[in-house]
């Protein structure tokens, strides 16, 4: 952790988001009607790592988590976990990963909480997994002392595993922060807390995505989605016009205006892993077409500009993985 002293008080640079969520929970007297209460954030956290172990985006000292904390009753755990699993499945699919490897870690010998709550919590996690219908591995005794958990490993295009997602039940933090809600019976009860992250560290995920795709991002992620390549100065105005039309529909596009041979421009575009290289010669300018060279696969030849723009726009909007 990183510490700072100011005005005789010591502060830590936030190493985790969870306590902040608990403090927000505590700002009001909660009723059972408000549960499940879901608090999500992209929260930046800081962890001190020895300089020798730092490794690009995989091992950093500050990173952002897609963190959420759900406060609920024990009876609501299963439905909440089912929701998390749905979201997780959607997100991994959009990113182009297959079904993750799932691990259910259950009660360790040293633990807090009654057997009753553990039975309920483990039953809810297993029930949610069964509902989801994906196979999972059980890791007896590998749970946290404060609750059972699910971990999700993604497999990248080189077959490497990356532990990214996690759904962890927590019986301890609500106790430590004195979290309560007023139940139907007007009595005070302690909520269960669910920590969940789908990508884990955003920074690390970006590193994983760069390597998974070898820099050849799908259209929706590619920083530059298309590059217009005027063959000569004469076709520059047409290229600029197409650029404006593409920008108008929200596409990220550039024009290579340099006074270079078209071959060199194409080589540079390939080097930048840009999904679409759009060659603009005099014939294209005259006919209102674009010669489409997708990053992978065959040249598509000259196609009407409006058609090309619409095709790329659709792939961007639907987050298609192919070009």
């Amino acid at each position: 952790m990183y510490f700072v002293e100011k005005e005789d008080r010591s502060f830590a640079v936030k190493p985790m988001n969870c306590p902040g969520a608990c403090i927000v929970y505590r700002t009001a007297m909660r009723s059972y009607k408000e549960l499940p209460l879901r608090l999500a954030e992209f929260g930046m956290v800081h962890r001190y790592e020895l300089s020798g172990v730092l490794h690009g985006l995989f091992r950093v000292r500050g990173f952002v988590q897609d963190d959420a904390h759900v406060y609920c009753t024990p009876d609501q755990i299963e439905a909440e976990v089912i929701d998390c699993l749905d979201m997780l499945e959607k997100v991994y699919k959009v990113l182009g990963f297959g079904v993750p490897e799932i691990k259910l870690s259950t009660r360790p010998p040293d633990r807090m909480g009654s057997d009753e709550i553990w039975d309920k919590a483990e039953g809810a996690l297993a029930g949610a997994l069964r509902n989801w219908g994906k196979s999972y591995r059980e890791a007896p005794q590998e749970g946290n002392f404060y609750g059972p958990k699910l971990d999700f490993d993604l497999t990248d295009s080189l077959g490497r595993k990356w532990q990214c997602g996690t759904i962890q039940l927590d019986f301890q933090m609500p106790e430590r922060f004195g979290l309560e809600y007023v139940g139907k019976d007007s009595g005070r009860h302690r909520p269960v807390m669910i920590h969940r992250a789908i990508l884990g560290s955003l920074d690390r995920m970006i590193g994983v995505l760069v390597e998974h795709y070898a820099g050849k991002f799908p259209v929706w992620l590619a920083p530059t989605q298309a590059l217009l390549l005027p063959v000569t100065d004469k076709t520059l105005p047409y290229a600029k016009d197409v650029e404006a039309r593409m920008r108008a529909v929200g596409l990220r596009v550039d024009v290579d205006e340099r006074n270079e041979k078209i071959g060199a421009k194409i080589r540079d575009g390939i080097g930048r892993r840009i999904p679409y290289l759009l060659v603009v010669g005099e014939r294209e300018a005259a006919a209102g077409t674009l010669s489409v060279r997708p990053r992978d696969g065959e040249d598509r030849g000259a196609l009407p500009a409006a058609e090309v723009i619409e095709d790329i726009r659709k792939r961007h909007a639907s987050r298609a993985l192919d070009l």
């Binding site: 790592e49 091992r59 000292r61 005794q141 080189l158 390597e211 820099g215 930048r272």
Partner: protein, 304 residues
């Protein structure tokens, strides 16, 4: 207490007399499993089937065909690597050498860091020893005799480590390969140095004795081993491909992000990288929260 409760991977438990071996447990589960067992995880640690059970714990048995069986090959290759290093560098001190998800490593105290040439010689020596066969033979000693044996072998660090554990009544196992090499180890291994199907020495890096950065500096040799040459080649190709697409390299080539001495461990995001953030989160990114003091002090005059 005269029995130990053993938890199986499915959560079921069975009881065995204390001082039974993991092999006894396997036999109790079924003769087929006992026959196919090549090693196990006892309380999460890789062990030979001869491992004594001295208390309650969990077991996961590794069978011939299971994915974990490759750990035996890698474990054995780590011994072979240490044997080769000691033959070429008789003054080297041995640290530890476990199998990993990708291969194995072994740590050594040596006068000079290993050069690429040294690594090639080590690999050649490994092949020479493998050609001799050299079966792994298990030898069990009590902790005092084991300490003496380690001193006799000249394994000072391991001897100190063992003495520090202050074990009583335990069985310490050694694995001996003919008159060429001996190492304190829980096992398991393949039958002999000659039975390691495919291996390769990959690189050397700095390490510290027991991971303590203020402690004794060591040299770590990284290598890998596989059940076949084809699988080894496939792995090496993947490693090569992973190097090509290393995100640190691609990150700067594609102008996505960069790393700087002003803030080690904090990425600096470029415009292209910010697009990734926006697509993934619907918003941009925060810039780095910490940089060295000098990068603030460098500005001597207020900017306009």
């Amino acid at each position: 207490m005269t029995v130990a409760r053993v938890t199986l991977p499915d959560g079921k438990t069975l009881e065995v007399p204390l001082n039974s071996t993991c092999a006894d447990v396997a036999r109790k589960i079924g003769p087929r499993l006992a026959k196919d067992a090549v090693g196990c995880f006892w309380n999460g640690e890789l062990c030979a089937m001869e491992q004594r059970i001295t208390g309650d714990g969990q077991i996961r048995i590794i069978t011939k065909g299971s994915p974990d069986a490759v750990l035996l090959i890698r474990h054995s290759a780590a011994h072979l690597c240490a044997a080769a290093v000691l033959e070429l560098f008789p003054d080297a001190q041995l640290g530890f050498g476990p199998p990993t998800a990708e291969g194995f490593y072994y740590d050594f105290v040596v006068k000079e860091p290993f050069t690429p040439d040294d690594l090639a010689r080590i690999e050649a020596k490994m092949r020479e020893l493998a050609a001799l066969g050299l079966p792994f033979e298990r030898k069990e000693l009590d902790p005092v005799a084991a300490g003496k044996e380690l001193r006799r072998l000249g394994y000072k660090l391991k001897a100190e480590y063992l003495e520090e554990l202050k074990l009583k009544g335990d069985v310490i196992s050694f694995y001996v390969n003919g008159n060429r090499f001996s190492d304190m180890c829980r096992g398991p291994h393949v039958a002999s140095f000659g039975a390691i199907p495919a291996f390769k020495v990959l690189s050397a890096s700095g390490a510290y004795w027991r991971g303590d950065a203020s402690g004794i500096p060591m040299q770590r040799i990284h290598g890998t081993a596989f059940p076949s040459e084809a699988e080894l080649k496939k792995h090496l190709d993947l490693v090569e491909e992973a190097k090509k697409r290393d995100h640190r390299k691609l990150g700067s080539e594609l102008d996505l992000f960069s790393f700087h001495e002003e803030a080690p461990g904090f990425p600096f995001w470029h415009a292209g990288g910010v697009v990734l953030w926006r697509e993934l989160t619907g918003r941009g990114t925060t810039t780095t929260t910490a940089t060295t003091c000098t990068s603030w002090r460098r500005r001597t005059a207020p900017s306009p």
